[in-house]
């Protein structure tokens, strides 16, 4: 039975900084401090999943637990050394380190230096420089416990399912949902407008390009002015803008639809004009 320590290539890096050399593995209860020469272990194989840490406190808690240290008696020097090695490893693996990790490194270094300095004699109640960090670690630890308790609670659609029944009579009386619009219908309407536009066109004036963004905000502001915030699709078109205007308006409507800023419903057919009315509505 061979148990490998996940931090094997960490030991190589740490050199003097580390205080108690960790055994690489245990073979039948005996410590193995060096890798067998003929054994090839890919660099990545034993690397700890560093990206999985939730932050510097999480990493520190992991280190403390791994070394079987006690938060209440936090040995700053070895923890700081280990922490820095992990940061180094994370950098090597190309993990983009959050600034918070570096702040913690600085905090650890500061605590370490304050512990080294002789305490001034005048100070009556010299607070333990580690106190704040220890409090934070304890707090975070309990939050982690609370979080895992919460995660294990029965959750809807994962552990329990809400039982529901329907009243058929009630459902019958409920207003039927507006017809959903099929893209082809929208395209038909577009075609129809294009055709109609041909009749309006008399002369050609050079125009600036109409921006889709501007059109989108134009449509939204137009809808806001309307009672009920809705308008017939055709009314969104500015005839003066010509073919291009129609195309951009159509694109802008599709874009707004995609962003769920508006919704489109199909109204009953106008028998007179033999075309459908697409009601463009501003989403709530």
């Amino acid at each position: 039975m061979i148990k490998l320590n996940a931090n094997n290539h960490m030991n190589e890096h740490q050199g003097e900084m580390h205080q108690q050399s960790l055994p690489l593995a245990f073979v039948r209860g005996k410590q193995v401090l060096e890798k067998p020469k003929e054994l090839y272990i890919p660099e990545q194989a034993l690397a700890v999943q560093l990206a999985n840490f939730e932050g510097p406190l999480d990493l520190l808690l992991y280190l403390i637990k791994k070394q079987k240290f006690d938060i209440a008696d936090l040995p700053i020097a070895p923890i700081t050394a280990q922490y820095l090695i992990y940061l180094e490893q994370m950098k090597e693996q190309g993990i983009d380190l959050a600034a918070d990790y570096l702040v913690m490194a600085a905090t650890l270094a500061e605590i370490k230096s304050r512990l080294l300095l002789p305490a001034p004699v005048i100070d009556e109640e010299e607070q333990d420089p580690r106190a704040e960090l220890m409090r934070k670690l304890e707090e975070y630890q309990s939050i982690k416990e609370a979080a895992s308790w919460l995660e294990q609670q029965p959750q809807i659609d994962r552990d329990i399912f809400v039982a529901k029944a329907e009243d058929i009579e009630l459902k019958k009386h409920a207003t039927p949902a507006a017809d959903t619009v099929v893209l082809s219908q929208l395209v038909d309407a577009f075609r129809h407008i294009m055709k109609r536009q041909a009749a309006y066109e008399h002369h050609h004036v050079e125009r600036e390009l109409i921006s889709c963004k501007e059109k989108m905000s134009f449509i939204l502001s137009l809808l806001e002015q309307q009672p009920l915030f809705s308008s017939d699709f055709v009314r969104l078109i500015v005839p003066a803008e010509g073919r291009q205007g129609i195309v951009v308006t159509f694109m802008a409507v599709l874009e707004l639809l995609k962003e769920q800023a508006i919704s489109i419903t199909l109204e009953a057919e106008h028998s007179m004009q033999n075309r459908s009315t697409f009601l463009v509505e501003k989403s709530a």
Partner: protein
């Protein structure tokens, strides 16, 4: 109204209701004409719970009221039906939620202080979208940051009847929190 028909009515109403119904809601919405006391409704609910005790569906009491739900012993077999429906909670999300649950009302920067890392906007957004948390007010400090707290929907989702059910692992922070707990309890 006879006892049996009242019982049937409550049973049916709970099944078609979109959210858990409290005794108060049952009384106000279902028994506008009849005189029925909250105690009687409570009695009926207890009877119903007993009727359903050993069934695939159980009647349970939650923060917002009563709800019919599947027997939790069936969760494994049932989850295969709805594999994709349950949202996966990331560690960051569940930690943030736990902090808000325990330390409410709390600002975002206070959450960051506890977790030791920046809280991403998407996590707060997700929690708000799922209605598990809400903005309960604004802290009277420069910038007036919003204060976040959990909702009854949160309690219902995690099968809790009140915040007091959370295991005691942190000292409850201040009187405000305990006030909130009693308030939530009386609402429920």
């Amino acid at each position: 109204m006879k006892a049996q028909s009242a019982k049937n009515l409550i049973e049916a109403a709970l099944f078609i209701s979109d959210k858990p119904m409290s005794i108060q809601a049952i009384k106000q919405k279902l028994f506008t004409q009849q005189t029925i006391t909250g105690r009687e409704i409570s009695q009926i609910l207890q009877e119903l719970a007993l009727d359903y005790q050993d069934r695939g569906i159980n009647l349970v009491k939650l923060a917002q009221g009563y709800r019919f739900q599947t027997n939790s012993s069936l969760s494994k077999q049932l989850s295969t039906l709805y594999n994709d429906r349950a949202p996966k909670n990331s560690q960051a999300l569940i930690e943030t939620l736990a902090i808000i649950a325990y330390k409410q009302p709390i600002t975002r920067s206070e959450i960051e202080e506890i977790r030791g890392v920046a809280v991403s906007s998407s996590i707060i957004k997700t929690l708000l979208e799922r209605s598990w948390i809400k903005v309960t007010g604004y802290k009277e400090v420069p910038g007036r940051p919003s204060l976040l707290g959990t909702t009854v929907e949160f309690l219902d989702y995690f099968s809790l009847t009140s915040l007091a059910q959370l295991p005691e692992i942190l000292p409850i922070q201040d009187s405000h929190t305990s006030e909130l707990i009693t308030k939530l309890e009386t609402e429920a």
